[in-house]
Subunit: 349 residues, 2 copies
């Protein structure tokens, strides 16, 4: 077994702290990665504090991983030593079901293996994430990080990036379309950059008037304060697509009525308690859709990284040391981050 | 003006009673129809009792109309005297917007004119519906009723039929697909017949075990009692499409989890109070859709009538006399009808 060092929690009340643990030795199809950067996702915090009720302790979070290949198995063909690579939210899936067959591993009918707090397919134990010095992953779940991308700022692309890129692509966002992004956080700021790069007219909806300038800087054509009823009314029936990144319970109706006939609003954040129930009339009257979307497949994640390299897109990040993680969680809860914390894993030692 | 007789209400507390009123004289593009049959839709009752808060009295309900052409304007080309024709939920729309331009008058951006309780475009007054001896309608909103269809049993096709046909077509229901129909009432029984005729595998969901036999007779391949948790669990992740016809507030989650990846559940009933809020996870985990659909366009309504003629489909009806309408409303509230009341308008006089 491979000895790993990391930061983890041993109970829901626990602060994150140093943790030594074991990973499987690299098999013939595995890539061993020395982790250099790991983004901090809100899911990390949910899991550490067992807010979804499914955490197995000890847990080592982190699924926005960028690092350097330090070992490869005999049969690995996709990656070689010294490559800069990434790992996102998944490290395995059944590879047999229809979904896996068409590159939608995130919808694997047998359940994909999460990068942390997932059931390891080889050892029978749990998976441990990227708040760590190293990780061992099947080559199929390892992404090439293009040279053009700053590796630290690319880390959040592996979750925040693909979670917004996938629905924008699936619902065919492009030139001539008017696209809304609800919420300016880790996901929202990527949504704006990506939708803008895809050629759409982008409108950011935020509850904070002081985010206007940043929204425009990130690529929004317009910023609407969603509490401003008049401004909202001006946009009624005008959007082709709305990407809703807000997990806090809020009125979906306020945004559904902004969709054109046959428009879709896609939710990528899951609230702990449900949103107020949407009015059925708002769906019926314009044949509108409410949908959800989960991260993205592996091939699509590679496509997203290549798209970001082509368009010069990375995440806006604030680099932290490993020992600042608990403080970073508190700041994340107050939305006091622009727009993603990334841990410099060199600070682990 | 054209003198008309009918049945209407003069206040929300009023029973329906004889009412004399005036319609416009047929203009150059109008068709005057002697009404022979009119179906009884739940919307009629909602409007009569002002349950949607928008009723203008006096109101004459009825939007499932079949009758005989008795006069046509100079410029009418589509219909001639003695034709058997139908009128559904709409009698006009702007004819200028994008939606009207592609035959989606039901989503007219300037609002279609309802067959009753709508603002008449020509007189500035209100429209009066089919609980009446005659009606005057622009030829574009008049449908040909194929000879093969029994005219009385065809009347409910004009609302219940098209409301279920349109979403089944829009979401491309056909052979090889597994389709759910939620609720066995006026809409649900049409949904089963139509989805079956389109070649889909049809499963009826009902709360009433005693509707099983009827569901199978109407064309369902299987009937599932939705309170039976085990039976429901067996159908998880298996439906391409679910047509939900139930307007009473109920758990949408119970059906959303039955959809395959990327499946859609479409609501065609609008509850007076919202459904319990659906779990966002159920949308996210399989990229599922929740949508709504409103009746259907005029061309599509004609297509539906022709489809029904081809497949020998009409509504299951119980014929009533005009003076039985108040009793029929009470029975409708108790779901004591298989599956649509139709008024024999010869009984008006």
């Amino acid at each position: 077994m491979l000895q790993s060092k990391g930061y983890g929690a041993t109970s829901a009340d626990d602060a994150l702290h140093h943790l030594d643990f074991q990973r499987r030795d690299p098999g013939p199809h595995d890539v061993q990665i020395q982790i250099r950067y790991c983004g901090v996702c809100h899911s990390d915090l949910h899991t550490v504090r067992n807010e979804w009720g499914n955490t197995v302790y000890p847990v080592v979070p982190g699924h926005e991983i960028v690092g350097r290949v330090v070992a490869v198995g005999n049969h690995v063909t996709r990656h070689k030593i010294d490559d800069i690579v990434g790992v996102g939210c998944m490290v395995d899936s059944c590879q047999r079901c229809d979904a896996c067959g068409i590159g939608l591993e995130q919808y694997c009918e047998n359940g994909f293996v999460g990068t942390y707090n997932g059931e390891e397919m080889h050892t029978g134990g749990m998976t441990y994430g990227g708040y760590s010095d190293s990780i061992v992953v099947h080559e199929k779940f390892v992404l090439r990080v293009p040279d053009k991308l700053d590796p630290a700022a690319a880390a959040p692309l592996l979750c925040a990036g693909i979670t917004t890129y996938s629905p924008l692509r699936h619902w065919k966002v492009g030139p001539g379309q008017k696209v809304g992004v609800v919420g300016l956080g880790g996901l929202g700021h990527m949504g704006i950059k990506l939708a803008h790069a895809m050629g759409a007219q982008v409108v950011l909806f935020t509850t904070s008037p002081n985010k206007r300038e940043d929204g425009l800087r990130l690529g929004a054509d317009e910023v609407v304060v969603s509490k401003d009823a008049e401004a909202m009314a001006r946009h009624q029936n005008s959007f082709d697509f709305i990407l809703n990144t807000v997990a806090a319970p809020h009125s979906l109706d306020a945004f559904l009525v902004l969709l054109k006939r046959e428009g879709t609003m896609t939710l990528v954040g899951a609230p702990a308690t449900p949103h107020p129930s949407p009015q059925v009339f708002n769906l019926i009257m314009k044949r509108r859709h409410l949908a959800g979307s989960l991260i993205g497949g592996i091939a699509e994640t590679q496509e997203m990284l290549d798209f970001c390299a082509e368009h010069g897109i990375v995440s806006d990040i604030e680099m932290i040391r490993m020992d600042q993680i608990n403080e970073a969680y508190e700041r994340m809860l107050k939305s006091d981050v622009k727009y993603r914390f990334v841990i410099d894993m060199a600070t682990l030692a």
